[in-house]
Every structure is written in C-alpha cells, then in structure tokens.
Symmetry: C2
Subunit: 254 residues, 2 copies
C-alpha cells in the first residue's frame, strides 16, 4: 500500500512510522514546515514535498494529520486523487472532506501523542467513519494494520468522544498542574503525588469511576472541605474549582 502523509506533527509522525513498520510505503510527506517534512520523510524513506503540484495523485491512501482548521483547505487539493482520503481529527466532521479522493472518511486515533514518547498503537482505539460501505471497508483494513482496537464512530459521536476526552484528560492534566503549583508554593515535591495519580488512573481500568471515588466530598466530610476552602481563600480560582467539583461529586452520589 502506498500512502501520502499530509502533515509532519506528532500524529503524522507516529502514524507514518507505524504504517512504515507494518510494511506500507510512505511515498511522500507534505508539510508547510519544510524542516519537519524532511525529518519525517527521512524517518520513513519518503519524499518531502511542500507544493501541491508535486503531489503523487496515484497513491492508495492520503492521511491528513494537520491542524483542524487546515483540513478543509487540504481537502480541496485532494479532489480527483486516485486513493482514499482520511483525516485524523477528533473534532472535524467527516464531510469536511466531501469530494476528495475516490472515497473519504476518518481515521481518528484516540490518544495523546508526543514526538519523544513511544506509544503502542496496537492498543490505541482508532475511531473510523466513511462516506460509504466500500470506503469503510478500506479504512477498516488500514486501521487494523495499526491497532487491535477499531471502532466505527459517527461524526456526531466523535464530537462527544472528543469532548469527553477534554474532561477526562485535558482537564485532569490541568488539575495535575494546579496541584503541582500548590505543592511548590509549600516546598513540597510533586513526586510525592505521582504514585497516587498513577493509581487513580489505574483503578478506573477495572471499576467504574463512581465506585472508586474517594475524598472529602464523596464522604460528605464538610469539616475537611471547610478547612480546604480556608486554605484556598487567597486563591480565588482554586477556591472556585474546589467548590464546583466538590458540589458536582456530592450531586453525583445522590
């Protein structure tokens, strides 16, 4: 299978390298950033390109992994190409690609990627969607090259999944940040909290989050909550977050 990779960021890098490892050929890497395109092209023995005139229009698959707001423009350049066109975005409707390629769809890896950290893609859920059954079959085959966890998810559902990921992951990460700041202000190392963070994320792999909720709010321990709010009286933002989330925990238990 010949693949053109459009984009050279974290997602593009992880996917292109994994495709290559599974025996696919990355024929070209398109990127506005010539430096990044060259790096990824070198890693995957592909040709780096920057202009659409150079695009190989006969590849089997075009994988778009660029910023969300650039997907629509990229798609206009992929009208009439031979292969199937997919984007990899959680937040972009499939029909943004309407008219591109011989069929189009979505190949959304539900994971957070950093260039410097290896990820076992086999365990990453890939959410797929397609314009028609023939395309779905092709995209499923492509997804299964990369992962054991492939699920068909509609554009509407994908929006919710992306939103749920913001709550479960982006917001949790920010809470890690807020707690690390709180510790630093009192000469305490964030390292002390790391095992607890690991265990909190591990617990919900096998039990529902509601079942394993701990802390003063779920115990109805008003005295401790009052003391905590008092400690936060000079940090209005943390005070507000503490109140809102504690009340939400209390409500969830009813």
């Amino acid at each position: 299978m010949n693949i053109v990779c459009i984009g050279s960021g974290n997602v593009a890098t992880h996917l292109a390298i994994a495709f290559k490892a599974m025996g696919a050929e990355i024929v070209q890497v398109w990127s506005q950033d010539s430096k990044n395109a060259e790096i990824l092209a070198a890693l995957t023995k592909a040709k780096p390109i920057q202009s659409w005139e150079e695009l190989d229009r006969s590849a089997d698959c075009y994988v778009i992994a660029v910023k969300d707001d650039a997907i629509e423009t990229v798609a206009t350049h992929l009208k009439g190409v031979k292969g199937i066109v997919v984007h990899t975005s959680g937040a972009t409707a499939m029909d943004t690609l309407a008219g591109a390629g011989s069929g189009y769809g979505v190949l959304y890896p539900l994971q957070t990627f950093s260039k410097t950290k290896a990820i076992d893609l086999k365990k990453v859920p890939f959410c797929i969607e397609a314009d028609r059954p023939e395309s779905l079959e092709k995209i499923a085959a492509i997804a299964q090259l990369l992962s054991h966890e492939v699920a068909e998810v509609s554009s509407e559902q994908r929006k919710i999944l992306h939103l749920a990921a913001v709550f479960a992951c982006n917001f949790s990460n920010h809470l890690y940040h807020l707690s690390s700041q709180l510790l630093a202000q009192h000469q305490l190392k964030f390292d002390l909290l790391k095992p607890l963070i690991t265990e909190t994320a591990a617990k919900i792999q096998y039990a529902s989050a509601a079942e394993v909720q701990t802390g003063p709010a779920v115990r109805g321990d008003e005295e401790t909550m009052r003391k905590h709010l008092d400690l936060l009286k000079d940090s209005p933002e943390l005070h507000h977050i503490y109140e809102l989330l504690s009340n939400s925990i209390k409500k969830a238990q009813r």
Copy 2:
C-alpha cells in the same frame, strides 16, 4: 516488633498485612466493627478486640487507621501505653495525639487503597512527622520497613499535600466519571477513553503537566471550545466546569 492495629478499614488492612509480611507481629486488631476486626485479625494472626480494657498496653507501636473524626477519641485511650503512637491520616494534625504513648507522630501513606486491589507499598510515599527527634527516628524505622519512599512532612505541609491530592486525584476521578456519563448518553463505551487516561497519567511521571497540556484551551482554539460549550448547553453543571477549567488552562499559559 509488636504492633497494635487500631482500625480495620482499607488503610489498616494494607498496613497490617505489610507489617506482618516484613516480620513484625500484629498482636491485636481493635475495631468497633467486630466482623472487620475478625477478618483482619485472622489475616494477620492477631487477636481481635473491641473494648479498650482488653488493649495490650505494652506493644512497641500503636497504628491508628480509623476515620479522621475518631482519631482524637482513640488517642485518649492510648495515654500511658508503652510504645509509640502514630496516626495515618492526611488531614489530621499530629498534635491530636498529644499525650498518647511514649511518643507520637504521623505515618501517612500517600496512596488510595481498596481492600480488593493489591498495592506495592514499597513505592508508596510515606510522610512522617514526630513529636521529638527520638520518636522521629523510631517512626522513620517503621516507615522504612514498608516503603523506599519516606519523607519528613510537617502537619502544615501535610494539609497542603492532602489538598493537592484532592485536586490531582479525587477531582480527576470525578472528571472520569463525568466523561463516562457523557459517553453513555451517546451510546459510546468508556473503554474507548481508557488508554488516553492511562497515557495522560503516565506523561506527567517524566514531564511537567504544564509542558504536556493538550486540548483546545491551551491551543487557544476558541472555535472548538464554542462548539463544546454548545454541546453542553443542556448540562449547566458540565458547562460551568468546562468554562472554569478552560479559562484556568488559558490563564496558566500566560
């Protein structure tokens, strides 16, 4: 070393079993709950007791692992005992134990415990504090039986640590819960999010949370945030949480 274990809940169970495994003798398990006392006593070959009259007053160490608001009352029963007295609470001042034992202090394992899930205590940070240097030495020796991670933490610092743990863990777990509800409402499995949750908690083991923050708020992607808030327009609580945490992320980047 002879230990009396006061309490028979999650923390008491994990600690008593670990002490036993390290060669200490659990001579008694005191608990108001006779059933739980019997179970833990059986697991550690100890004698279950329910009345203070039966207390062995010559043990080397008395480990209090009861609900926070019961610690003070328990301490009154431990005046004049031969050994050292420690409580295991994150939120209770050391001096709640004033006058108990031949010395007193805190042995606080910074971890979340369930009776049904094994924990490697060796990697759990134990925060210790003592009424005087001689007690600190003894408590440090006891803590080092259980863990490689022993840190001296004052009562003031321990309050902050507990508060930071509420943010990083109790609140994160609640966000997992909210996202699982959101998914269920749209016929999506929470399983899809689990690898992302694992990776989010794994990333901050080696990088600062601020460095690895992802999502629309940190990118300043107002369009996606507007769409997300629109999806939440009938869930005022989630809407409020989304706005507050997104604004907090934006502020943190300045």
